[in-house]
């Protein structure tokens, strides 16, 4: 604070503090507190808001446990509340997406950071950035075209003789969703890992090579540990974006796929029950945060590493 005043004087410091306060207080903290408060109130007709029925309760949260469905998994049959089931699958497929993104991005990140001629790197990065500038809805739409029953993917596979009958890609559970999410978010994995590997001293790799380490060992013992913060931030980004995505599951989802954000959307837009939507949204935020925190603890990554 002293430093701020000394460097920028009273007026500018005040202006900057006010701007930051406007952002964090009015756009982040207060809305979230309101959301939290609202989530404990019942959904009432306008005339009854503030009336005797308008009391705090956990009812909105309890709705998560309504409506059992029967599912079988690995031969076991069990009953599970439909929204809990949706949430579980959302988390699961977000993880699948994260892992696929990592597997796809890591080799390229390494290649870009350590092997590509540094002169052609900016051009390469620019090329990789192009899809990022094209909006998410169009990217999902592109895959909607590609995966269509009579679409180019089936045409290609039929053409080269890999399959005999066209496949209904968008009717295979979460396949379409995961394909779309991976395509949409893989770059959010690529760039953090690239940045992390780039900061690794190439001499370390060469020293390991010189000492006779095989390539997989170099990666396992040197490159991977060094890029852990990058992998962590990439994974957190991809996971949170996937779990919070509404577009991709809505466009590429099948009749049997339901994403938790879609459930929230239905409460909000179809049932017009904003309070239950708030409760669900808060649950999404809370549980994703808890999940990410636990995952980071398991992998021994600190938040400060991610913030780099």
């Amino acid at each position: 604070m002293q430093d701020l005043l000394r460097r920028y004087g009273f007026g500018l410091t005040l202006a900057m503090c006010l701007l930051v306060a406007f952002w964090l207080v009015m756009l982040v903290i207060v809305p979230n507190i309101t959301l939290f408060e609202q989530s404990f109130r019942p959904y009432l007709p306008v005339t009854e808001v503030g009336g005797p029925k308008d009391v705090y309760s956990f009812n909105n949260y309890m709705k998560v446990f309504d409506g059992d469905v029967e599912r079988s998994f690995l031969g076991f049959t069990f009953h599970i509340p439909v929204h809990v089931y949706t949430f579980g699958l959302t988390i699961f497929y977000s993880m699948v997406t994260t892992v696929i993104c990592f597997v796809m991005a890591y080799p390229l990140a390494y290649f870009m950071a350590k092997i590509v001629n540094p002169k052609s790197l900016p051009t390469l990065i620019l090329l990789l950035f192009i899809p990022l500038w094209v909006s998410e809805v169009l990217r999902a739409f592109a895959w909607w075209i590609i995966l269509a029953f009579k679409g180019p993917l089936n045409a290609l596979l039929l053409g080269v003789g890999l399959i005999e009958d066209p496949i209904r890609w968008t009717n295979m559970g979460y396949t379409g969703v995961v394909v779309g999410l991976v395509y949409t978010y893989v770059l959010f994995m690529l760039f953090p890992i690239y940045n992390a590997i780039q900061s690794l001293d190439t001499n370390q790799i060469e020293a390991a090579e010189d000492l006779g380490a095989p390539w997989w060992k170099i990666h396992w013992r040197i490159v991977l540990p060094h890029s852990k913060p990058g992998i962590a931030s990439g994974s957190v980004m991809v996971f949170m974006l996937s779990a919070g995505s509404l577009l991709v599951p809505s466009i590429l989802g099948s009749t049997t796929s339901q994403w938790f954000t879609q459930t929230i959307d239905q409460w909000f837009k179809d049932a017009l029950d904003w309070n239950t939507a708030s409760a669900y949204a808060f649950l999404l935020l809370l549980l994703c945060t808890v999940f990410v925190t636990v995952a980071m603890w398991l992998f021994k990554v600190k938040l400060s590493d991610i913030a780099k």
Partner: protein, 286 residues
Amino acid sequence: MHNLRLNLARIYMVLFIIYLLAPLVVMSGAAFNDSKLPSIVPWKGFTTMWFSEMIADQRMMVAFANTLWVAAAVALISVIVGTASAILINSVSGKVRTALYGMMISTILIPGVVIGISTMILWTKMGNALGTEFFLFNPGLHLSVLGQVSYIAAMVMLLVLARLQSFDAGLEEAALDLGASHTQVMRRILLPHLYPAIGAGAAVAFFQSIENFNVTQFTRGGADTLTVYVFSKVRSGITPTINALAFLLILVTLVLAVIYELNRRRRARIEAAREAEARRAEAAEL
């Protein structure tokens, strides 16, 4: 063996780029296919009619205009807020910095659904409490702007903060010492240094706003943005007008990318020439 791996890596890179770009090519191609369904197979002949239909689509044009002003507003506010935050964060330290920084960064990770609903609830509740019909407190795109700023400002902040790391605070002192006021230091010394990052931040904010769906979906009231409109089109009856739109957007992106790249190369050349001159002067001195 080493060469084999190198070649595999090159092939992988090319495949990756194809993977990233092919869907865009397919989507653009479908804009020219004379078929009622957006696809490139079967190819039914070349047409530009989807472009004329697109221009005739009043709703899309309105959505497009909405998108532009929302994006411009988001970019403007995010740049101001994000830059101020970066400068502020850069000169505080210790626990305050950790707390502020953590809060700012976390906005990027908050699911858009949460931001959308919370923004909507706060402002409409405030309107109810105040008993006013003032537009600010009704659902609408202005709420989308506020919701989007809440996390896009953090992206601008990160870009500007990264640029600030390379700023020599001694320049501020030098300017102060030469008699500049704090405002003059900001305008003549600090901001010019930050302009590249602020420009990049504005571009990122603009494009992030254009592609935003989650926040907009929950706050927009009845108004459309391009993303929302495309989404509703994809869900209902699609015509390749969307492809025509996508093609144009990709084209604009490409042109901007090429301009950026050429500009970057030109600057690199100029800077290299200057450094060479400095080295020559250095050699001449000794």
